[in-house]
């Protein structure tokens, strides 16, 4: 079996909500994307408020460019015509994680849109300035 996919690694700055940054980067460049937890079999759109407020995404999830693409991945797995349309995101930023890191596995390194999404993620994950003010205040109080 030939396992496709190449990893990109992004350190996560202290206090940054990695899932929120990933969602916003995808929303900006793939506005119709759908997401699926690695352990679930339900596709969820960005309209689902639980994604944003409830933080119900797990530490490993997939982002598909649109619902049609998601269905293609579920039916065929990795294929020539869908490699540029899915991100496999893994986030290690819990209390027991020594290194706060976001791993994004991509299947088409040459795709411009994917590169833009990764650049947006990298900037947000590394930039403590993107942290909502409430987190900064909490940090100062501590």
């Amino acid at each position: 079996m030939d396992m496709s996919g190449v990893d990109r690694y992004f350190p996560i700055a202290y206090g940054v909500d990695a899932t929120d940054i990933v969602l916003r980067a995808c929303q900006r460049h793939w506005p119709e994307c759908v997401l699926r937890n690695a352990t679930d079999d339900e596709d969820r759109s960005l309209d689902d408020p639980d994604l944003w407020i409830g933080n119900s995404l797990g530490k490993e999830f997939f982002v598909y460019r649109c619902r049609r693409v998601a269905e293609c991945w579920h039916k065929q797995g990795a294929a020539e015509d869908n490699r540029d349309s899915m991100l496999h995101v893994m986030i290690a930023a819990g209390e027991n994680d020594r290194n706060r890191i976001c791993v994004v596995e991509i299947h088409d390194e040459a795709n411009n849109m994917i590169q833009k999404i990764l650049a947006a993620m990298e900037q947000g994950l590394n930039d403590a300035g993107t942290v909502p003010e409430i987190y900064l205040l909490a940090g100062e109080a501590a």
């Binding site: 079996m1 030939d2 396992m3 496709s4 996919g5 190449v6 990893d7 690694y9 699926r36 690695a38 352990t39 679930d40 079999d41 490993e60 997939f62 991945w73 579920h74 039916k75 065929q76 797995g77 990795a78 294929a79 899915m86 496999h88 893994m90 290690a92 994680d97 290194n99 890191i101 791993v103 596995e105 299947h107």
Partner: protein, 120 residues
């Protein structure tokens, strides 16, 4: 390069393949998983495996293979000589393994093989 040691869940390793690959491997008593050159130039030459069992949700997505290649599986006990394919990942996400040459699994290490019951 270090062998993955304790990465495998429960010490069981899995290999997935299609019908043609499955029939070739079971044709002899000792399973021989052939090393191949992957399409990606930076991926190592080798035989590829995973720690994820057949009932794993989104199996094809998680290991980056076509759905057809998850139709048949082999499982065998880990002997600690496989390498993580994504060594920089946090350990919990290191589910892909490889061996840089053909990989022989003798009868004593073999567990199960057959059609993936959840394959659709």
């Amino acid at each position: 390069m270090t062998a993955h040691g304790s990465l495998a869940t429960g010490g069981i390793i899995y290999h997935y393949t299609d019908k043609t690959g499955y029939q070739a491997i079971i044709a002899v008593s000792d399973w021989n998983f052939r090393a191949r050159h992957p399409r990606h130039p930076r991926k190592p030459h080798g035989a590829y495996f995973t720690t994820l069992p057949p009932d794993t949700n989104n199996l094809a997505e998680r290991i980056g293979v076509s759905k057809m290649k998850t139709r048949y599986f082999f499982s065998f006990t880990d002997s600690g000589d496989l390498h993580p394919l994504n060594a920089r990942r946090p350990v919990r996400f290191q589910v892909k393994l490889y061996y840089p040459d053909d990989y022989l699994v003798t009868v004593e290490r073999q567990c199960q093989h057959g059609e993936n019951p959840l394959w659709t």
